[in-house]
């Protein structure tokens, strides 16, 4: 059948003036009902929070920017920064070991990640806190003088962080196309230059999202150091409520600060991701 004859046969339900037909989208009443229900429940929850006097929002306001809370917040922030930097430095080294041609280095890296992912961070902190029982002296100094609570927190959190960072960095490097390294080798670029200029910037695209996750996780995770009496944000509010018994409002102070910092970090991550997406159409 030629296309000519095909055109002359009218389809049963299409009138001559197909232009005049109006398209009506399907009505989704279920969606409306669900939205109304969820909003109502949300309203009830917000109402219960605002009208529950036990939250003591005036106490929250009093302590929100008090000196001891801000000092605790500051410690939480710099502890997070130090642990992230050291953890990722060690993690990158471990990832390089794991990808090296040397089987001993590969094995050591694998063993490290296995060990430090296996031990809960709380158990690890307590072990480091009591390390003096195993090694009373380190480098000729009494261990308890060398490793105070803050030092123990840095060591414990960093070793824990590095095990996870190693896997994140390794994943990022594996995501870089093998041809990129070959092209750099064919051009005579040195090992260091290949790593710094070609592999790492491309690996960063896949490293940043999970690293952002880890940063936020670490920020909140540092609250665990309150068990070894490091005066971070959580420990600082605990000190206050142990004295005043205003438990809920002071926990709200900590909650609000953690939420604020996490939000700021999320915004930062957006811009870092944008930076490393240079040259890729998909993200733009």
């Amino acid at each position: 059948m030629s296309s000519d004859t095909l055109a002359k046969v009218p389809a049963p339900d299409i009138p001559e003036q197909a232009d005049a037909l109006r398209i009506v989208p399907q009505r989704r009443y279920g969606q409306w009902a669900a939205a109304v229900l969820v909003l109502a429940l949300l309203g009830l929850a917000v109402n219960s929070v605002l009208r529950n006097r036990a939250f003591q929002w005036d106490v929250v306001a009093d302590y929100f920017t008090s000196d001891s809370v801000l000092r605790g917040l500051w410690l939480t922030l710099w502890l997070t920064a130090v642990v992230m930097v050291l953890g990722f430095a060690l993690g990158t080294l471990l990832a390089a070991f794991r990808l090296s041609a040397n089987p001993v280095l590969r094995w050591v890296s694998w063993g490290y990640v296995w060990l430090f992912r296996s031990i809960p961070i709380l158990v690890q902190l307590l072990l480091w806190f009591n390390i003096g029982a195993l090694y009373p002296e380190l480098f000729g100094v009494r261990t308890v003088n060398l490793l105070g609570p803050v030092e123990v927190a840095i060591v414990g959190l960093t070793l824990h962080e590095a095990a996870y960072a190693a896997e994140v960095v390794r994943g990022g490097i594996l995501a870089v196309d093998r041809g990129q390294i070959e092209a750099a080798q064919a051009l005579g670029l040195s090992r260091w230059r290949r790593w710094r200029r070609i592999v790492l910037p491309q690996a960063m695209r896949s490293i940043v999202p999970p690293a952002g996750n880890m940063l936020i996780g670490t920020l909140k995770g540092t609250s665990i150091v309150s068990v070894i009496a490091v005066s971070d944000l959580l420990f600082s509010v605990q000190l206050v409520y142990h004295r005043t018994y205003q438990v809920i409002p002071l926990l709200m102070v900590a909650t609000l600060w953690y939420t604020i910092v996490t939000s700021v970090l999320g915004v930062g991550q957006y811009y870092v991701e944008k930076h490393y997406a240079r040259g890729s159409e998909r993200v733009r």
Partner: protein, 253 residues
């Protein structure tokens, strides 16, 4: 004429698979050698051994009178440290099937990367000569684009400019048009043809028989890890002596 590339009894295997089973090949300075052959015949592997991207198991390769990847003392070949191999590679340009441009660097940054970091050229000078090279491959107006914003043909032309930026004595092309849409093949072959006319020594692995006939001084036909026959295109392409060559040509022509 002097010999630019001298390949002697090169063997290479990947595990139990023998990819190269004794290759001997000489390429004279200023000549274009086109290597043809079915997939898996070892032609890409051979090309990659010439700049030591692939180590050989046996045999030796020299480029411009220098052993590649090894130092000879008596009857032993000692593997060179990576730094030395990298220096040797700066004299050999390599163009990949999949371009392998650095996607996070602009076109001009791709081209100046090796001159600046491997040859320690001043950046300003490197940029000026990169612009000239890009002009030459017809991309003078795309210097600040990212590779992802270019067509495949344009990307491969940038890759050729990047290889030329080291002013190599020898250019190696590994199926430079195989990843391109058919209508983009011509623009890349035009650039390679120009280089050939200017007397650049090159070895081109390709499936473009017409290009081989037109540009090659020597056509090499490989199958199953061996060179089956070689000679001027009029001999190998029009009057092949071996059944294997005839069978291959009858399928691709």
């Amino acid at each position: 004429m002097s010999v630019m590339v001298d390949i002697r009894s090169v063997h290479k295997s990947f595990g139990p698979l023998d990819v190269l089973k004794g290759i001997d090949l000489q390429v004279r300075t200023g000549e274009v050698t086109v290597v043809l052959g079915p997939s898996g015949s070892g032609k890409s592997t051979l090309l990659r051994t010439i700049n030591h991207l692939e180590k050989v198991d046996h045999g030796a390769i020299s480029v411009d009178g220098t052993l590649i990847g090894y130092r000879r003392s008596g009857d032993r070949l000692h593997e060179l440290p990576e730094r030395e191999v990298l220096r040797q590679r700066t004299r050999i340009g390599f163009v990949f099937q999949n371009f392998n441009l650095f996607p996070h660097l602009t076109v001009v940054e791709n081209v100046i990367e090796a001159p600046v970091s491997a040859l320690k050229r001043p950046r300003r000078e490197a940029v000026a000569s990169a612009r000239r090279l890009l002009e030459r491959v017809g991309l003078g107006d795309r210097t600040d684009a990212y590779p992802g914003q270019l067509s495949g043909g344009q990307q491969q032309r940038v890759a050729i400019a990047r290889a030329l930026a080291l002013e190599p004595k020898l250019l190696l092309f590994d199926e430079p048009t195989s990843a391109l849409d058919p209508e983009l093949v011509g623009e890349v072959l035009d650039v390679i043809r120009d280089l050939a006319h200017q007397g650049t020594t090159m070895i081109v692995v390709t499936h473009e028989i017409g290009f081989a006939r037109e540009v090659a001084d020597t056509v090499v036909f490989m199958a199953d890890g061996r060179i089956v026959e070689q000679g001027p295109p009029t001999d190998v392409l029009d009057n092949p002596r071996h059944e294997r060559t005839r069978a291959f040509l009858s399928k691709v022509l």
